[in-house]
């Protein structure tokens, strides 16, 4: 014989409980379900999307007639229970009784009605059920006032606004949602609502609802009157306990239950918003679902105990991103970590007690809310990560920095493979569709199938989609990061990172301040990407580039003034000779790049020597830089009997255009006036070999540790076009090569064909490259010697103090 179970109230808690119960033991109980509303269970949390029109009622029904029929539930919908006869174990509605072996009270809560005149007028509603919702859906073009700026009230206000009503929110407190938000976040929320045309009246106490037959306006204590065809009271709820009180069950604020959800009568149970458990009442859905699980077990005579967990709040107003959990009131011993970005409307606040998170408030960007909430629930000791905590899980360095996090943050349309125009979304889709090796990915999307420099990023996107299924993670550029050079360049571009600290922060650097390997690389990538905005960081440069001279083994320096195209004058030579004598230069040497090197200069003499050389019209030769070094030339047609073009003149033109530019590695040019090639142009990074018909441009030579002969890039009869192509290929190299790759090395990776396509065949692209080079040169075509030998800079080259003198005193 089955036991008789009667349930009063078909809400979300009792609905979930019945699912558990009937799922675990379909044949133990005959269930009778009373509900005052004339329908079964639906997802009340989803009333707001119904109100705003984003969902229909049908979409939010959780248990339909078929479900109740399939589970043999005797539904008494539209029948309100009026009395419980505990002695005889029968409940009564106005149309009859139902005996029970076990009774579950799930009457939920009732909206609180503030006792003001006019509260009974037609047009005054609460926000509790579908009837209320339907009344509010019918407010297009009308005036509506919502009393109460809490979670429910704001969802009502936003929903009616979306339906086309003119909405005013009247809120008693100083800021909206004061139980979940602090004033700063409440302010951002108010701004967002006001942008949607909702009027917000804080510190507004309702005095009366005005109107004769129906609501017409709301009068406040401060005298303000807000017109209102509809008034929604959403000032709070209280547990619905009338039946329990009448039955003389123990009731405090709610119906008192023990850990097993049993009331003071062993045959009567309760759950949901109507109960009080250990002094606490509940309004959010998560603990109610926990109660449902516990009660189902209790009814089956299984042990179970309800333990309330901290729950978080999210506001279901599309476009208002808000998260709140825990306790965030000011209290002694509590500390805050706050992140504000008012321009983007982002606010995050963590409340700490000792090394534990006790409260989280987020507005505008709540992506990390669940993570913080987890730390709070678990009572995690956040001491070790406190300095980065606010930035969320993606930026927790040390233990397990996650390079995939930055990739995860990219939007689907972000371009990953530049050669083939493949976006992150395309790669994700292909991975989901079965491409789980790099080769398969290349075959089906062409991502990383051309120059291959995006391989690391492609693998990371695949890892994002597939988890651990992808192997061969890319090598990091140094031990400070798992990102490769190529990835970093792309991420700097894609994420708009404009400083070294920003890169390190956003991309999860594992060290503080990087190292001597990554800092110069990042400095270069940033200045190449953002020539006008980024300010060169001298402290991230190798000594030679920082001091604009080459350090020697004894700590002295060598100084090389520029000689344009290797051409000098008696006056320049005199100035160099004078400087060599004045500063006691131990060696004067002619370099391989057609200029003169002054070796053994003391650091404190550098700015003085530079000033002297500047005065004679000379600038830094940048003999120390990852940048344009020399343009070596032969004498060409002007003097040479076999010269075909003005190679010296072209060399000088190129050097005057390109000096001061920074490149991934050193950049040496040569211009020879005929194929005899006296300027050795065919072992330079970029060379020109003149012929009778014009100019042969060659690239990719080297004569250092690696000896390489150049390969032909282009030929042109026009000197102007030759210059344009050289500037364009230089810029292409600047924008794409890995730091410390010479042109030949870069060319080996991307292929000569790709370079040709960019700068020779594609005229439009060539022009754009030249233009970008020129923009960068507008900043960098200036003499560092002049900048660093001013009266204010000069003293910085000398020792800070000389204690040998003090010792003598």
């Amino acid at each position: 014989m089955k036991k008789k179970l009667v349930v009063i109230g078909a809400g979300m808690a009792s609905g979930r409980m019945l699912e558990h119960l009937l799922g675990a033991a379909p044949d133990i109980f005959d269930v009778t379900l009373f509900n005052a509303e004339s329908r079964g269970n639906y997802d009340r949390l989803m009333l707001s999307p119904v109100l705003s029109g984003e969902k229909t009622y049908e979409q939010i029904v959780t248990h339909d007639d078929a479900w109740y029929a399939a589970h043999n539930v005797d539904c008494r919908f539209g029948e309100a229970v009026v009395r419980i006869d505990r002695k005889n174990r029968v409940v009564y509605s106005n149309s009859g009784g139902a005996p029970y072996d076990a009774l579950v009270i799930a009457t939920g809560s009732a909206p609180f009605i503030i006792p003001v005149p006019g509260r009974d007028l037609h047009g005054v509603v609460t926000y509790r059920d579908l009837e209320d919702t339907r009344a509010m859906m019918d407010t297009r073009g009308k005036d509506a006032v919502v009393i109460g700026g809490g979670l429910l009230g704001l969802e009502a206000a936003a929903g009616m606004a979306a339906r086309g009503a003119r909405v005013t929110v009247v809120h008693l407190m100083g800021h909206l949602m004061e139980r979940q938000l602090d004033p700063a976040a409440g302010y951002l929320l108010q701004k967002d609502l006001e942008r949607r045309g909702i009027t917000v009246h804080c510190k507004g106490a309702t005095k009366a609802i005005l109107g004769t037959d129906r609501a017409e306006a709301v009068l406040l204590e401060d005298g303000a009157v807000h017109p209102a065809d509809l008034v929604c009271m959403a000032v709070g709820i209280r547990p619905e306990t009338r039946l329990a009180v009448d039955a003389h069950l123990e009731v405090e604020r709610g119906i008192v239950v023990d850990d097993a959800m049993r009331t003071s009568d062993p045959h009567i149970f309760a759950l949901g918003e109507c109960v009080e458990h250990r002094g606490q009442v509940f309004g959010l859905v998560a603990p109610l679902y926990d109660q449902a699980r516990v009660l189902a077990r209790t009814l089956l005579d299984q042990d179970a105990a309800f333990v309330p967990v901290q729950t978080a709040t999210k506001l279901k107003v599309t476009g208002c991103d808000l998260f709140s959990a825990g306790d965030f009131a000011d209290a002694p011993g509590r500390e805050d970590i706050v992140f504000r970005d008012p321009g983007r409307g982002i606010y995050k606040r963590l409340v700490l007690e000792g090394d534990r998170i006790v409260g989280v408030v987020m507005y505008g960007d709540t992506a990390d809310g669940a993570w913080f909430h987890g730390l709070m629930k678990d009572g995690t000791d956040i001491g070790p990560m406190r300095d980065r905590l606010i930035f969320g899980p993606a930026f927790q360095g040390g233990g397990a920095p996650d390079p995939v996090a930055a990739v995860a943050a990219l939007p689907p349309e972000a371009e990953i493979c530049g050669c083939n125009g493949v976006s992150k979304g395309t790669i994700m889709n292909a991975a989901m569709g079965g491409a789980c090796t790099l080769d398969q990915m290349r075959a089906c999307t062409k991502a990383s199938a051309s120059c291959g420099t995006c391989t690391g990023l492609v693998q990371q996107v695949m890892a994002l989609a597939l988890g651990d299924a992808v192997q061969d993670a890319p090598m990091g550029m140094c031990r400070c990061t798992d990102h490769s050079h190529e990835d970093l360049r792309r991420l700097i571009r894609a994420m708009g990172l404009k400083s070294i600290p920003a890169v390190m922060q956003e991309l999860g650097w594992k060290t503080v301040g990087g190292c001597h390997s990554c800092r110069p690389a990042l400095n270069y990538y940033l200045l190449a990407e953002y020539p006008l905005e980024y300010r060169d960081d001298r402290q991230s440069r190798f000594v030679n580039e920082r001091n604009h001279a080459n350090i020697q083994k004894d700590g002295t320096y060598s100084v090389v003034p520029r000689m344009w195209g290797g051409v000098t004058t008696p006056a320049e030579l005199r100035a160099i000779a004078d400087a060599a004598e004045k500063y006691g230069v131990p060696m004067v040497k002619v370099t391989g790049g057609q200029r003169i090197d002054l070796l053994g200069v003391r650091k404190e003499d550098l700015p003085h020597m530079w000033a002297d050389l500047n005065a004679a019209g000379m600038v830094s030769g940048a003999a120390y830089s990852k940048g344009l070094r020399t343009v070596k030339t032969c004498v060409g047609q002007e003097f040479c009997r076999v010269g075909t073009q003005d190679s010296t003149g072209l060399g000088i033109k190129l050097e005057k255009l390109m000096w001061g530019s920074w490149t991934p590695h050193k950049l040496k040019l040569g211009v020879s006036g005929c194929p005899r090639n006296c300027a050795e142009a065919t072992c330079k990074d970029i060379g020109v070999v003149c012929v009778d018909s014009g100019y042969n441009i060659v690239i990719g030579g080297a004569a250092g540790m690696e000896v390489r002969e150049t390969v032909p890039l282009a030929s042109t009869p026009s000197e102007d076009e030759a210059i344009q192509i050289i500037l364009a290929v230089t810029q292409l190299y600047r924008e794409n090569a890995r730091y410390l790759d010479r042109i030949w090395k870069w060319m080996d990776k991307v292929g000569l064909g790709w370079i040709k396509a960019q700068v020779v065949d594609d005229m439009e692209n060539r022009r754009a490259l030249v233009e970008r080079f020129e923009i960068s040169q507008s900043v960098y075509r200036r003499d560092p010697w002049a900048d660093l030998s001013t009266p204010s800079e000069t003293p910085k080259w000398a020792p800070l103090a000389d204690l040998t003198l003090e010792a003598a005193e």
Partner: protein
């Protein structure tokens, strides 16, 4: 108790940079980190005598400009596979001034 001597303003040393102080015991490199802490080390790499004051400062480490040896400025100890140590001296910032230990005024380290 360590006695300190004022050698200049914190502003005289660039963040993530260094300046040299000449002392009777040789040149001392005074470093300033990104978070405005100061360290004083012998300005001579234990490897080939390179001027550490010209190295790249990262965190509390400095990389020698000649052959990329890395030293922990807290201890003067070479990092990684390299073995060696440079002398360190007490240094601190007080009201925007840099102070280093006064023993550097003496001719010998004794």
């Amino acid at each position: 108790m360590t006695i300190f001597v004022d050698i200049g303003s914190l502003d005289d040393v660039p963040a993530q940079g260094a300046r040299v102080v000449r002392t009777a015991q040789g040149c001392v490199a005074v470093f300033r980190t990104a978070d405005d802490r100061v360290f004083a080390l012998e300005d001579r790499c234990s490897h080939k005598g390179g001027p550490l004051s010209e190295g790249i400062v990262h965190g509390t480490f400095v990389t020698c400009p000649l052959h990329n040896w890395v030293f922990d400025m807290n201890t003067g100890q070479a990092q990684g596979a390299d073995e060696g140590r440079v002398r360190t001296f007490a240094a601190k910032v007080q009201e925007g001034r840099i102070l280093i230990e006064a023993t550097l005024l003496r001719r010998s380290a004794a």
